[in-house]
């Protein structure tokens, strides 16, 4: 995991002397923030609607599986009927030398056996397809939705929770689909079949059997309510375990260096024990249910047998009918445990689906435009475009304005360095331009088009941002550079790497550009990662390039090389460069000094350096730091 950046990214590089999020966000333990809870609010009925929408495209196949199960149950349940027929009809017939009924029994039983096997096979096959397709759909939806949600959302929801949504929560739906639904259908079908058969065999016995459903139904209802609570708690508990687990594994170096192992063990134990407790609770709830349902069932069997036996003794019931009825009764109550299993998987899936529905109900705060507008054709042969901040105000979600009111025009092709102390609003500016956020008032325009009206792909082609945290994905170095423009050829990738001075170190890796960054020998230093990120941005060939502290881990020659490359690469592009190290200024056409969300100085670097303002100060301090 050398290549992952810390999992706690900054909201903004600019608000170092104030909370990045405001009052209620700064109160993570308080009740005011919905993100403190594991379940995000979703409209009522969203869980059921989600399940419905997942199953909707499968209608035909769900019907088919139900039909297969119906037939299969028919084949299975025919057994006792054949037994009754055999005892009451075939035996006397055989004694009278009529073999027909016996042959019928033999043929019937064989047919049923073969049919139930074949149908079982077909059923498992089809239902697995349905369930896997539903899971595929759901996984995809979670993934795509999570990707569509804003950076802001990700910062608040935490990666651990998202991971637990798409792993353990999907897994519990899978259990429901794989086992639960089959159980449910089997249970319902056998209830219906058996009740009908019993009623047909003997209306009295049948009626008693049906009457015994009432206490069972009450029991099921009681269980449902209790289980819902227990499973909800359990799913929250496991999510907390996952969050802690992920955090530890991603920060393993500091964990080691600061001997956090024991303290972590203790913290993990608390979460793990909480999960253990809720887990045990859910199992005990199930135990109670099983005892209750068995008691009802066995009492009913004893009662029915008692009554039936009396009637046989009185001559109002055939022995064969009683035998069949008893066989059926046992079967009637057999699936009750399985109903419990269904309820189990249902509750746990419902708890999970509720969380997934809550996640899916989040609307991206940076939505795709409803009526997208294209960018106008370029006015010059250069790739750059004009950027305008028009009356932009911005505060992070819950208050604390970072940009009070901001107007700025960057002509196409201009390279602008933005400097200022931490907390001045530099990164906010960059993130608004990259549309990681939308302004709370005002507009950000690219060649006169509001960013909010630009289709996302168009925007992302046009505006590219390189940040300090250079994240590398699993895959080769070439893959990681190609992220900038997937259709790029190997030559183009290498050209980008060469331009930025990354070619040398990449060639020295064990497999050069094909070195897997997560595998043997693929260790890449922070500075090298930044170079790869730069190459990625170059390859993307954007109209507007934003560099937010993108060279912080480079050594001076590396930075120089990048700057030389930039001087060529940036020509004709609009660029916003944020850097603490003022060496950047050398390539800038214009410098903006920001303070508390306002521009306090604006001018050509030479002009500002020659002056007596803040920039002259900063520049002097920087020169001194170079010693």
């Amino acid at each position: 995991m050398t290549t992952t950046t810390p999992s706690t990214p900054a909201v903004s590089d600019d608000d170092s002397d104030g909370p990045a999020r405001s009052r209620d966000a700064g109160d993570p333990g308080g009740p005011g923030d919905q993100f403190d809870r594991d379940v995000l609010p979703s409209p009522p009925g969203a869980t059921a609607a989600l399940l419905r929408s997942l199953l909707a495209p499968m209608k035909a196949r769900v019907a088919l599986t139900t039909l297969l199960l119906l037939l299969q149950q028919a084949a299975v349940q025919a057994g006792p009927l054949l037994v009754a027929y055999a005892i009451d009809t075939a035996v006397p017939a055989f004694r009278d030398d009529r073999n027909g009924p016996l042959f019928a029994v033999a043929a019937g039983y064989l047919l049923c056996a073969l049919a139930s096997g074949a149908l079982q096979f077909a059923f498992i096959e089809t239902s697995a397809r349905v369930s896997q397709d539903v899971l595929l759909d759901l996984r995809g939806r979670i993934f795509r939705h999570a990707q569509a949600l804003s950076v802001d959302f990700h910062e608040r929801y935490t990666s651990g929770r998202l991971i637990s949504r798409s792993t353990t929560d999907v897994e519990s739906l899978r259990e429901l689909l794989d086992e639960g639904l089959q159980e449910l259908v089997t249970v319902i079908l056998s209830f219906v079949y058996i009740s009908a058969t019993l009623l047909w065999l003997d209306p009295g016995l049948g009626a008693v059997a049906v009457a015994s459903f009432l206490p069972l139904y009450l029991l099921v209802r009681l269980y449902r309510g209790r289980a819902a609570r227990v499973y909800g708690a359990r799913s929250t508990a496991i999510a907390a375990v996952i969050v802690k687990f992920v955090e530890t594994m991603n920060g393993i170096r500091p964990v080691r260096a600061f001997r956090r192992e024991a303290a972590n063990d203790a913290e993990f134990a608390v979460l793990n024990t909480r999960h253990e407790r809720t887990n045990g609770d859910s199992l005990l709830e199930m135990a109670r249910y099983v005892v209750g349902s068995r008691l009802v069932a066995n009492t009913a069997v004893a009662g029915i047998v008692l009554w039936g036996a009396h009637r046989v003794a009185a001559g109002s019931l055939e022995l064969g009918v009683l035998a069949a009825a008893v066989l059926y009764l046992r079967r009637l109550y057999d699936p009750i445990d399985r109903l419990g299993m269904f309820l189990n998987s249902y509750q746990s899936a419902a708890a999970s689906l509720e969380k997934i529905a809550g996640l899916l109900a989040q609307t991206p705060s940076v939505p795709e435009p409803e009526r997208p507008r294209e960018l106008p054709p370029r006015k010059t042969e250069f790739p750059g475009r004009e950027v305008v901040f028009d009356g932009v105000r911005f505060g992070y979600r819950t208050g604390g304005e970072v940009l009070p009111r901001f107007d700025l025009t960057l002509p196409a092709g201009q390279t602008v360095a933005v400097v200022g102390s931490t907390g001045a609003g530099k990164s906010t500016l960059a993130k608004l331009l990259a549309r990681f956020y939308d302004p709370s008032a005002g507009r950000v325009l690219l060649d006169g088009v509001d960013l909010r009206e630009l289709p996302m792909p168009e925007l992302r082609r046009g505006v590219v941002m390189v940040t300090q945290e250079a994240f590398l994905f699993s895959g080769t170095v070439a893959d990681n550079i190609a992220l900038g423009r997937p259709e790029a050829t190997r030559e183009e990738i290498e050209r980008a790497a060469k331009a930025i001075g990354a070619h040398e170190f990449i060639s020295a890796l064990p497999d050069g550009y094909d070195t897997d960054v997560r595998k043997r020998g693929g260790r890449i230093s922070a500075g090298q990662r930044q170079l790869v990120a730069f190459a990625r941005a170059l390859l993307a060939d954007p109209a507007v390039l934003i560099l937010d502290e993108a060279t912080s881990s480079l050594d001076i020659p590396g930075e120089r090389a990048v700057q030389r490359a930039m001087a060529t690469v940036l020509r004709g592009r609009t660029a916003v460069v944020i850097a603490h190290r003022l060496s950047t200024v050398e390539i800038a056409d214009r410098v903006l000094v920001m303070e508390h969300g306002r521009i306090v100085e604006d001018g050509h670097p030479d002009e500002l350096i020659g002056g007596t303002g803040r920039f002259a100060d900063l520049h002097q301090a920087w020169r001194d730091s170079l010693a």
């Binding site: 005892i87 896997q132 995809g140 990707q147 935490t158 046992r330 050594d555």
Partner: protein, 601 residues
């Protein structure tokens, strides 16, 4: 990849036996529960016998008292069965949750102590899927298949005995399919194991993609690459779907066999039974009881298929679990914490030379580097005198970070040694070593805890508010006091997000809070602006006055914090001296510090 280790030949039973140490503490409960389940199951089997007795006796004789008695027996047996099943579940509920939790805690404990190199190699998604999905599978296995393979086995045996006793001919007919069913199970077991393993590994890979796409969300958004990321995800999840469908097909086959064959046997027994009842060789009651028993055995027989499947998955989960647990934690990779076997230098002169932090002929290559590749560090010799601070300068990728990681033993030297005040670091416990050496990493990771806790992590237990305030002041991290709850504000993954510069300053505060004897700073000021950097430097200088420190530096300003500078080049220390000295004398150094071409100097 260690995560896709193919396993073809291994016995599921032998693998599952490895769970014993975890199950041992709850063995009494588990055994009792299994026993109770067997009794409950057998109780269920007695019920048809009572029925037979009723049909052949009181019902045929029209004896109302006998019927009442029979019904009473049925009721009692029924209650016993219900209560026994309840007891079984009650017995195992807490203990098995406990086993799962223990195993998870064990995994977590082990993972925290495995060498950093292990973590470099393993995607954390693969680790996470072991801690969640696999352990849940194991708990389910212990709760269900393990008990019920036993219970159903016994039930089937007892049932068969009952049937054989009632009528051995019919009994033998029922026994007929046993051999083909067992053969199918064995064949199926092997194939299923392979596919199950593949599926679990693919789930781990999928988890990794999810994790990366969340952690790398800014890059994905910045380049509008969520579509290609989604494509990769779709491909992987599609592959997983394929594997799951293969699993389902295997399962369907076994089910079909297990359902069909016994049913055919029951049909044959029925026909034969009818013939014999007609001939008067068999009572109708016996036939009813016989078939009732045979049908009662249906579930135990049917269930064997999925019980075996679950056991297979459990075996795979066990295997995956122990893939991690079998790795040796770093303190078992060597004789940790022992007494220094080498005689220590006694004479004063020698002692003085050994004081401070010393690298002696240190060579390092990553243990998993491809064979034949040159070591990253070769014969590094460097002596940092007590109280001295040494800047470490070198080109990007020259191994500076790696060198610093060797001091707290995040990685182990391949050869040579590192000494603290003359003591080889491999002879002291890591606990002690890491207590004496404080580190600030280039990537400042904060944990989900309060600011205060995050900083005080770097101190011994006794440190309190004054120490915290002092450290925050040194690192110019006073902004912490202005956070909503001051230094009690939670940060990290589950708290307030801080900017890179803020995190870096907190990480620095963490490194200095414990007034460490030795300090290792990896480019600690990279995300700070010039003014803040200057302030931090001024404060740091006071700390560094009496601390032995190694500071990775990219910029002259950071270099100036140090008394001397060491230049790392080509895997060795190429030069040591003061900044001015090296600027004058070493072209490479001058190039690194000024960015101007080497030949121009």
């Amino acid at each position: 990849m260690p995560t896709t280790r193919e396993t073809t030949d291994r016995s599921a039973v032998r693998t599952l036996l490895r769970l014993w140490p975890y199950v041992r503490p709850v063995r009494a409960r588990l055994l009792t529960a299994a026993f109770v389940a067997v009794v409950a199951s057998c109780t269920g089997l007695v019920i048809p016998l009572v029925l037979k007795w009723m049909v052949d006796g009181p019902v045929a004789d029209r004896d109302p008292a006998g019927v009442w008695l029979g019904a009473l027996y049925l009721l009692l047996l029924g209650i016993a069965e219900a209560v026994l099943f309840g007891i079984r579940r009650w017995l195992v509920a807490r203990p098995l949750s406990h086993v799962e939790a223990e195993m998870r805690a064990g995994l977590y404990r082990r993972l925290q102590r495995l060498p950093v190199a292990f973590h470099d190699r393993w995607a954390s998604g693969q680790l996470l899927s072991r801690a969640t999905t696999d352990l849940m599978l194991l708990r389910m296995f212990l709760a269900f298949p393990l008990t019920f393979l036993l219970v159903n086995g016994v039930t089937i045996l007892v049932g068969l005995v009952i049937m054989l006793l009632q009528d051995w001919v019919l009994g033998l007919v029922i026994l007929g399919p046993a051999v083909p069913v067992m053969w199918t199970c064995v064949v199926f077991e092997r194939r299923y194991a392979r596919v199950a393993r593949r599926a679990q590994d693919q789930i781990g890979d999928l988890t990794t993609v999810v994790e990366e796409s969340v952690l790398g969300i800014r890059v994905i958004k910045g380049f509008g690459r969520h579509r290609s990321q989604a494509r990769a995800f779709r491909e992987l999840s599609g592959r997983l779907r394929g594997t799951e469908l293969r699993k389902a097909r295997l399962l369907a086959t076994i089910w079909a066999v297990i359902v069909t064959l016994p049913e055919v046997a029951i049909g044959a027994a029925l026909v034969l039974g009818v013939l014999r009842v007609a001939d008067g060789e068999l009572s109708a009651g016996t036939l009813v009881a016989f078939l009732s028993t045979a049908l009662a055995l249906r579930w135990p027989v049917d269930s064997i298929g999925f019980l075996l499947a679950m056991s297979q998955e459990a075996a795979t989960a066990t295997e995956r679990y122990f893939e991690v647990m079998d790795e040796l934690p770093e303190d078992q990779l060597d004789g940790d914490g022992g007494v220094d076997p080498r005689p220590q230098a006694r004479d004063a002169a020698h002692r003085a030379a050994a004081q401070g932090l010393r690298f002696e002929n240190v060579t390092f290559r990553y243990p998993d580097a491809p064979p034949g590749s040159p070591p990253l560090l070769t014969a590094v010799d460097l002596h940092i005198r007590p109280g001295e601070s040494m800047a470490l300068v070198g080109a990007t990728g020259s191994g500076k970070t790696t060198l610093t990681a060797l001091v707290p033993r995040l990685h182990e030297v391949t050869s040579g040694r590192i000494t603290l005040n003359g003591v080889d670091i491999t002879t002291m416990s890591r606990e002690e070593l890491r207590g004496r050496v404080a580190v600030a990493f280039e990537e400042p990771t904060l944990f989900s805890a309060s600011v205060g806790e995050n900083v005080l992590m770097g101190a011994r237990d006794a440190a309190g508010k004054p120490e915290l305030d002092r450290a925050l002041a040194i690192a110019q991290a006073d902004f912490a006091h202005a956070l909503p709850q001051g230094t009690d504000t939670r940060v990290g993954e589950q708290g307030l997000s801080l900017s890179g510069g803020q995190r870096q300053r907190l990480a620095l505060a963490r490194a200095v809070v414990g007034r460490p004897e030795f300090l290792v700073l990896d480019d600690p000021l990279s995300a700070l602006d010039v003014h803040t950097e200057a302030a931090v430097e001024a404060a740091l200088r006071r700390v560094l006055a009496d601390t032995t420190a190694l500071i990775v530096a990219h910029r002259p300003s950071t270099v100036l914090l140090a008394d001397r500078v060491a230049l790392l080049s080509g895997g060795r220390i190429a030069a040591v001296g003061t900044h001015q000295q090296l600027l004058r004398e070493n072209a490479e150094y001058a190039h690194l510090m000024s960015g101007e071409q080497e030949d121009s100097r």
